[in-house]
Symmetry: C2
Subunit: 406 residues, 2 copies
Amino acid sequence: MMFSLILPSSSKTMSLSGTPNYSSTVGGRRADFSTIASGFPVKVHVQTLLRKTSSSLQSPANSMKHEMDITSAPERKLVKQFMRASNTHSFVADSTPAVNGKYQKLTEDWESKKLDLITGGRLLQDGLVYRQNISVRSFEIGGDRKMSFGALLNHLQDTALNQSRITGLIADGFGSTREMSRNNLIWVVSTLHIVVDRYPTWTDVVEVDTWMYASGKNGLGRDWIFRDSKTGETLATATSVYVMMNKKTRRLSKFAKEMRDEIEPYLMDCECPIINKDSRKILKLDVSTADKICTGLSPGWNDMDINQHVSNVKYIDWILESVPRSFMERYYLNAMTLEYKKECDMDSVLQSLSKMVGGGNSDSFNANKVMEYDHMLRLENGREILRGRTVWKLKDTNSCVNNYIY
Amino acid sequence: MMFSLILPSSSKTMSLSGTPNYSSTVGGRRADFSTIASGFPVKVHVQTLLRKTSSSLQSPANSMKHEMDITSAPERKLVKQFMRASNTHSFVADSTPAVNGKYQKLTEDWESKKLDLITGGRLLQDGLVYRQNISVRSFEIGGDRKMSFGALLNHLQDTALNQSRITGLIADGFGSTREMSRNNLIWVVSTLHIVVDRYPTWTDVVEVDTWMYASGKNGLGRDWIFRDSKTGETLATATSVYVMMNKKTRRLSKFAKEMRDEIEPYLMDCECPIINKDSRKILKLDVSTADKICTGLSPGWNDMDINQHVSNVKYIDWILESVPRSFMERYYLNAMTLEYKKECDMDSVLQSLSKMVGGGNSDSFNANKVMEYDHMLRLENGREILRGRTVWKLKDTNSCVNNYIY
């Protein structure tokens, strides 16, 4: 079967039946991906592209044969320039031998970095997408043998860092580039939205894809798709926005030109995020109407990350502290939206507040199939740390090994 | 280079330069391992054997070529009988073709189970040792980029379960065999002793070996060695004793004959544990002399395991809650000995008590190079849950990326 895709900007025609061909630029910021199927070019969204390249359509091995791997900013820029200089459909066929030779050299130089021997992860789609298989470990599951929400979040962070590491973009700490390090800047999570359709279970192997894109003036967007590695079924999707913080002043920073130039070649040129963000505004939770307030929450001795603040994953534990366990026995966590307002450190003492919205209150929830909570974490002095929303779905009790934790 | 080993009971001569040869039984319970180097047989301890088979001497691929993989109790017993029936040094050379044929069939049948595709782990030494590489993930490190003690404990549990899974010994839950499941029995940790010489850092790859052996009348022993996969340097060693508990009555159970028969073929026939246990008795901590008491500790929504009690790893967090952070900034956790007395469940509320022994008290610790704490976890009604001892060593501050958490 012939199956071809044309990628934007650093554009390339991938073909499962022949040598890759490189096209001219076909679009601006928009995801002007085109497929040529049976000779008819059709515009498709990036979501389609990602679906098409899943294991159900081409094996990782096949996919890798047709991927270009350019892993540093200058080389990426150079190749993008070659792409743009070529106004013909097929770069290989129509450009000069000199340009072909230079491109060949670049790809050979960086070929060795395509596969990450530490994690088994690899770069796809011109190096813009990172893919890694993860197996669900015994320490990542809850009482029902299913991967915990916290473990899933751990892998969001880990695969993001692995992509930065394998591409060579990372210079220091948790994903800081060279320019960022020079300017004492670190990444912090601003917003995070996760939807889990089905939690994988112990020993399941999950295929994770992740990629970055520009998000507004000062943000870096990143999306993830978690799939069942056997069936290709989507298990979870996530989208996040990171911003820069000065690690000395602990104040947010602008996304300055030198950093943007450094990161731009690694960004997917798409109309992202591809997953549906929960766009409803999360209002600040009114303390007087909260269903439950947990007080005296403080980070454990091992909850700090190398950015010298509490790991954003720890916040999940605190949020869920305020959801009644009787509720968790009947409902599973389907989605979570978080807006991080302020970091907290080792000495912080927090309160976790929650309020059931649209379905009774936490003491008298009914049997609605979908329920929602609003959440707030705040310091004891009242300063807001995070606001969030969780969506819960009624469990199919027949499908649970046991019904102990969601 | 010629390098040969004779294994006990289900004994086999491994040779890197030819076909494996099988010897007769060479010992009882004791670790009568012999090496034949340069033609001279020399008795060695199991520790030497394990060191000899590290990657520095033979690659995993080479090692696997010469390993026999028998993965169910009946087949293991049968092969052991063949071994015992042969009174000559070389089983292959001297036994009948019929016996050779049967052995050949057995190994072929189970060959496919040798490599665990989920974790990349594999069986070595007649299937009695399980080896797995683990890479240190970003979510397993503390503020100093080093693997946390808790993460290390997670991998003790995980590799133990992986061995049981790959051999087919596991039938249900966290390592229960068929007979255990039939009798509603689960494994619980009775004692655990860990020594960490050096904590691996983020992206390091660690090679873990683990194996089981009989321990007293009612216990199952298990040891682990964590090595730097590049250099073979030992990073950590651990030894543990598991006992059986009835999951309905929650009372400990005897190691009955039907379970012993089922598990025996998977046990290393050795003078274990190979690592030096801290044999000093841990006295019950006198509450009136404790340096610090942390109260109101309760399991989080996700700290339960599939045995429907608090994961033993969670106890580590509670123990370390009572160690002053100012102390942790100067000392790193070198060793921990735990004696689990009673399980606790989701509704338990605990106290963590600690007392510095032999080096001042927690408010005025001196600059001794090695310091020790005694610990106790107890329910609020005073019932003892766990007693423990931790050994701490003065940090080499020069070698730390930062000095935030041990």
